[in-house]
């Protein structure tokens, strides 16, 4: 039987946030680990002593970690009891200061390489500053254009900035939340990517709402407007949240899609609740679609006044049903 040597191992230095900071080959036995520059493995952790532990190989192939009289000691778990020495199998770990030391054998099997989605065109574009700038600026201009469309008075140009700026404050917060999540989970904030994604979501929903309203008006299907807009908004939100998750987590694409669907469904349910909350309640004002004119298709299907008013019999029956439903006493 061949004797193991320490050079068959390497050491993973894991920082307080769980990220492997470095991997060090263990060439000679014993290995001194500490903060001092003459150590074989130098740890940049203020809670680690200059010479903190010594690592050597024992006969059964396990690693022996010995405390060299350190201030904060050696432990199995982060806040566990101090140990003067520990014996670890390959793959085992221990704590010194705020740093985790994990020992692995060189011949240990690693997971197959994951497909790099970030190399896909869309995701790689979402990391290019110029493209991000366009994605952020375009919806802002779109919102300014909407403000301009809604203004029937002579206004100072700066007043057109108010509505987009307000929306963008919310988008900043949204992007900030995703950045914090990303920083915590994958140690990268990608703030501008998240900000661009939030901007794109706003722009797409704006465009979709207008297109849907015009198309449904054209085919005299106004009543479906709310439902179709909710559905399209849901789909847009799923896509954007999926993209957010791509940059803010390391979960598998299928899991990211599932989470995106769940989060979007939550937003959609919330929107429906806001839209229809109190819908059964009495309203003393007439309620109707305010959409008037899709410019190009106005003469699609018109009825005569007689045809229109003859249809009021149905309205009368509906009103009579309402009267019977809640009779005043």
């Amino acid at each position: 039987m061949m004797m193991s040597t320490l050079s068959e191992y390497f050491l993973e230095v894991v920082d307080r946030s769980g990220l492997v900071r470095e991997r060090v080959s263990l060439d000679q036995s014993p290995v001194i680990i500490g903060r001092a520059y003459d150590c074989q493995v130098i740890i940049d952790d203020p809670y680690v002593c200059p010479q903190h532990v010594k690592v050597s190989l024992v006969e059964n192939g396990e690693l022996l970690i010995e405390d060299l009289g350190s201030v904060n000691g050696l432990s199995v778990t982060k806040h566990g009891a101090k140990q003067s020495q520990l014996q670890l199998r390959p793959g085992g770990d221990c704590f010194i200061g705020w740093t985790k030391l994990r020992f692995r054998r060189r011949d240990e099997q690693v997971l197959p390489a994951r497909h790099d989605h970030s190399r896909q065109l869309v995701f790689s574009l979402l990391q290019q500053p110029k493209f991000l700038a366009i994605l952020i600026i375009f919806p802002f201009l779109q919102l300014m254009f909407s403000s301009w469309l809604e203004e029937a008075r002579q206004v100072e140009p700066y007043t057109l900035l108010v509505a987009p700026a307000t929306v963008y404050i919310f988008l900043l917060i949204w992007a900030l939340v995703w950045s914090v999540v990303g920083k915590l989970l994958v140690h990268r904030a990608c703030f501008f990517t998240h900000f661009a994604l939030a901007s794109v979501m706003t722009g797409l929903i704006l465009i979709a709402d207008s297109v849907i309203a015009y198309v449904l008006f054209m085919f005299d299907m106004d009543l479906l407007q709310t439902y179709v807009q909710l559905l399209i908004s849901f789909i847009i939100t799923v896509v954007i949240i999926y993209a957010h998750l791509h940059f803010a987590s390391r979960t598998k694409p299928k899991s990211q899609l599932l989470i995106a669907v769940l989060i979007s469904a939550m937003f959609t349910v919330f929107s429906v609740y806001i839209e229809y909350e109190g819908d059964d309640e009495f309203s003393s004002s007439p309620e109707y679609s305010v959409y008037i004119k899709p410019p190009m298709f106005v003469f699609g299907s018109t009825q005569t006044t007689d045809e229109f008013l003859s249809g009021m019999d149905e309205v009368e029956r509906e009103v009579d049903t309402l009267k019977k439903a809640k009779k005043f006493d």
């Binding site: 109707y288 410019p295 006044t305 009021m312």
Partner: protein
């Protein structure tokens, strides 16, 4: 200096003061006489909450012969719509109280007749001839529950053109005086206090409607009061709408369009055109409405017609901005009667693109029903023409307290009266 002016000025002042004194003396004598003689005939009418026994509202009333006590319908409307929760009491000049029973009412003219089983005062006689315009008349009642008062004022004639005729009385009618009598110099009944607009502009129900109501009391005994309200409102809407619906609506021009103008003398109309300002469009509007209404309860009025047209044109807004503006303007409607869900249903609307008199328009027509008054509806219509990219007509009309047939007939005639003027007609 100016001493030559002193003597004639003093003479003038003396004359004026004497004239004022004499006039005041005569006024006092008139009011005092009316107060003393009519005092036993005038009562305070109290509507009490049955559970607590405390008053929920109050007005005035008077004896009109045969023990009948006349007041306003709006004073006793709770007895009609909530008889299980309310009862009526009188309080006479000697502060004696007793129960009152509702016998009959005229909801359109805002009158009601009650009776007391154990108390009867002298009945007021109805004046055979109305006073001359400008003649002194005396309104009596219990303003703000402060005790019996006489308000001297001026008879200014009958407003015949109204859907519901009223006497214009110059004098202050305050809350609590509703249902009290207004008397001429011989203490004969001229009218019944009904409403005031402030600044001494007040209105009386003409005494002839009191006679008509009293003639009907014996005919309508033990009637279902809610059904009676429905019957009276149905007859009223048929009567007043008949002359309106029997012919095409008058038209006026607004921009290049013809629109319904003043339908009868009962309508008051106003028009305006926007001043040039920072707006990128010009607007002209025309509005008509009937100013009288029928009181059903504190927040439920009916029997009104109102409509408004607005013509917008622009050179500076493109088609998108112009129609965007119209879409934001479209829901800005005003519904006069804001009755709650206990009294009316929500509006049910139908909408679509309609071709009317060769004009394409977005049209919305809505109905809501009265839950208290069977067979009556409020009919609402709103439209915007979509013919032009830089000009549009916006029009909205509301008719309250009408039958379904009359509501739709009104809307049909209203739409018939909206058209584009012929070339060169503008």
């Amino acid at each position: 200096m100016y001493s030559y002016l002193k003597r004639p000025l003093l003479h003038y002042l003396s004359f004026t003061l004497v004239a004022l004194f004499l006039s005041a003396h005569q006024v006092n004598a008139g009011s005092q006489d009316t107060y003393e003689k009519v005092r036993p005939s005038v009562l305070q009418v109290l509507i009490l909450d049955k559970t607590s026994g405390t008053k929920s509202s109050f007005g005035s009333g008077f004896f009109a012969g045969d023990g009948y006590i006349v007041t306003n319908f709006h004073v006793i409307s709770d007895l009609v719509f909530h008889p299980e929760r309310h009862r009526a009491q009188y309080r006479n000049a000697d502060d004696e109280r007793g129960d009152l029973t509702l016998l009959y009412f005229d909801v359109v003219n805002d009158l009601a007749v009650l009776r007391s089983d154990n108390y009867q005062g002298p009945g007021l006689k109805i004046a055979q001839q109305p006073p001359h315009n400008g003649e002194r008349i005396y309104a009596m009642g219990h303003p703000h529950d402060l005790g019996l008062s006489v308000v001297e004022g001026t008879y200014n004639g009958l407003l015949e053109d109204k859907l519901i005729p009223r006497i214009h009385y110059t004098g202050s009618l305050n809350p609590g005086m509703s249902g009290g009598p207004a008397l001429d110099k011989d203490n004969n009944l001229v009218g019944v206090n009904v409403s005031g607009m402030g600044d001494q502009v007040s209105f009386l129900v003409p005494a002839r409607y009191v006679s008509e109501m009293l003639n009907n009391v014996k005919t309508y005994q033990n009637v279902d009061f809610k059904k009676l309200v429905s019957q009276q409102l149905d007859i009223h809407q048929k009567t007043y709408l008949q002359p309106i619906l029997n012919k095409a609506f008058n038209q006026i021009s607004l921009g290049p369009y013809l629109v319904p103008g003043k339908l009868t003398q009962a309508f008051e109309c106003w028009g305006s055109t926007s001043e040039p300002d920072e707006r990128l469009y010009n607007a002209s509007s025309h509005k008509c409405e009937t100013s009288d209404y029928i009181y059903l309860s504190a927040d439920d009025y009916t029997g009104t017609i109102e409509y408004k047209h607005e013509y917008f044109e622009t050179e500076k807004l493109g088609v998108q901005r112009f129609y965007g503006f119209l879409e934001r303007h479209f829901p800005l409607i005003h519904v006069t009667t804001d009755a709650d869900e206990k009294r009316v249903t929500s509006f049910v609307c139908k909408q679509g693109l309609v071709e009317n008199n060769k004009l394409h328009m977005k049209l919305v027509s809505c109905l809501r029903g009265h839950k208290v008054v069977d067979g009556l509806y409020d009919a609402f219509i709103i439209l915007t023409t979509v013919e032009q990219d830089d000009a549009a007509l916006y029009s909205v009309a509301m008719v309250s307290g009408v039958s379904y047939e009359n509501g739709i007939a009104f809307q049909r005639l209203y739409l018939d009266a909206i058209s584009m003027q012929a070339e060169g007609e503008e």
